[in-house]
Symmetry: C2
Amino acid sequence: MKEKLVSKEEALELLFSKWNPEIVTEVVPVYEAFGRTLAEDMYALYDIPVVRASSMDGVAFNYAAYEADPDTTGWKLGVDYCRADTGDDFPDEFDSVVKIEDVELLPEGGLRFHLPEGQTIKKNMNVKPSGANYRKGELLAKAGRMLNPQLLSSIASGGYAEVKVVRMPVVGYIPTGSELVGIGEKPDRGQNINSNSILVYGMVLEMGAIPVCYPIVKDDMDSIERAMKTALAQCDAVLLSGGSSKGEEDFSFRVMDKCGELLMHGVKCVPGRPMSIALVDGKPCVNISGPALAAMNCLDWCVSAIVGKMLGVKPHAYPEVDAVLDGLQTVPGGMELLTTLDLYRDEEGRYHAVPIKPELKPGEQPQKGPGGPKSRQAQAFQGKAMYRSALGESSHQAGDVIRVKMICSPEEAEL
Amino acid sequence: MKEKLVSKEEALELLFSKWNPEIVTEVVPVYEAFGRTLAEDMYALYDIPVVRASSMDGVAFNYAAYEADPDTTGWKLGVDYCRADTGDDFPDEFDSVVKIEDVELLPEGGLRFHLPEGQTIKKNMNVKPSGANYRKGELLAKAGRMLNPQLLSSIASGGYAEVKVVRMPVVGYIPTGSELVGIGEKPDRGQNINSNSILVYGMVLEMGAIPVCYPIVKDDMDSIERAMKTALAQCDAVLLSGGSSKGEEDFSFRVMDKCGELLMHGVKCVPGRPMSIALVDGKPCVNISGPALAAMNCLDWCVSAIVGKMLGVKPHAYPEVDAVLDGLQTVPGGMELLTTLDLYRDEEGRYHAVPIKPELKPGEQPQKGPGGPKSRQAQAFQGKAMYRSALGESSHQAGDVIRVKMICSPEEAEL
């Protein structure tokens, strides 16, 4: 067991030097592929348009015939011209399209073209050639892309109803702690609600993996070991929450140490310093600190990297924006810090980040921690952004511009 | 039927002046509430910690007893002190905690405190008071917030297993066009693949609504009317694709006009100018242009606003970043433009946006349209960003900074 604190990067390097998961793929219908990671480059199966298509609502005609005799008043529908609307193919004898706004249809079936000033009739005008939208063999989407509606629409247009994607990793979560009660239960003195399960559930979903939240396990070596072994058999990675530090009942990392190879214990990153990573049965196990912000921190830097590794892509990231700091953001010495801030956009479109301070009632103790004043959870988790400081970084003053990660939907930061 | 082109804003104002949907709510388990819109302010039901909690792994003791006699070597476990780990409550007779790293446990059961230089034993040290994380009655989350893992964790910690959210609106989509074949079918000459269904499906999901994609309907007034009426009975809003312009078989807006009140036809926004909005049976119907980029445009500005109205929140927005333009971005006169661009981040962390140009083969016609050169679909939909110009805006030169919307996951734009 290594007691020396390591950086986030060192912790992941330790893990990835010993664990290199195989990328597993599966084929799913395009309708079930949103947010999935594409497993192979995809190329169009067909030319679209197959032959050609009018790019306007209009009439199609033969340019050579028009050039030979530009008097179109005696033309006959179906012989000298036909209707060809946007996207329509038309008979081989025609090759050019004039848009309907520029066509006068005469009662006898003939027509007159009235092109706007400066425009002339040209061969092939308003006609999209074969393959103008999709050319057979052309790249539709590169392996590793996360499939969005646009890419899936292209893949469908390229001729596919199914798509090969990376299998979603399954991440198990075991909440440990005799003091925990279930969500919806009333906590008695000394008890706490197992709300980390929903935090893990949601964040693991955001990362593109399948969360499996197991029942609460009491503080007992054997129970934790049994739960971990069950989860390891069912999942690709296992998270144990609580019991991560130096408490008497901190069994989680001891179980990981007993059953596998403990790679590190303690990270230079707060909140959540006393976390650990082990390889057990060839799978990563992470012991996450219990406090909610600590758990969020570990999920964001560590679990997302593990999931990214299994997906074969960069770890899930939140959108980043530069924001003017409306207040002081303290940063601890010798430690990275993750904190949440409020976020809004001013009338000029600039983002502002607001540090979240607890409003203490008279007689309360101000809660201090290594990262500066600790916020009440209730306030911290209403924050719309998170800020992650680097090792050795100085504190930031009001007016400084810092780069924050949006954890709200973008429209929620708008005025 | 109004033929006059209106701006996007005017189009929505016309609709919202006549249509003001009721916000419908429902109660769902917290585990099913991700991405949903919270329907009411929520307040904590309990104080957490219920009484108090140690904020460190350590030993709890009575400060007054220590002050009276600081010799702790004769203390007895369970009488003069007890173990109190992070988050633990402890007996009423104790009030302060020294962290375990600063405690020497003596073999006889007594102990010695070894605090770091400059630190002293203080009353209430390392103890979180009742309600330090959640105070009964404190705000957990405001109505209108989109529920993320953090807010749901707070709501669970506040005592709730269920949450009142806005019902997800149901948006029906009817693809019209005799030339369409289903996804996975091989298109013959003149045919096209119904790939817009998957585009609509995905984008409507992104907006927070439930998409219902109906089967392809042939170009026939009666068939379209029947399909629209069915969809209107089952959905909160209905989208008809294709048949939106001046073609001979452009029946969709005519059906909307016949069955309801056509509010506008034609918007100053390309691609997808010939779209229309109607109120039919008191519900919004939107006729979307068939070309894929045109459909994406209409979904992004119009359908998202309609869904936002039903959710009672601002319309869905993509994350926005300022990006250096690597190339020319032309903007049409008198029209807004939506276009896609590639996006990447350079080594300094600055985003760059790259216009997407089709690479035409020799002999091919360059495809021109109102928004400048038209891209091949296959290339346009690999773009990681979209850019929306304002009315009256000028074109942008290489090196200009423009604000683009990310349509990829943020990590996909990283180096």
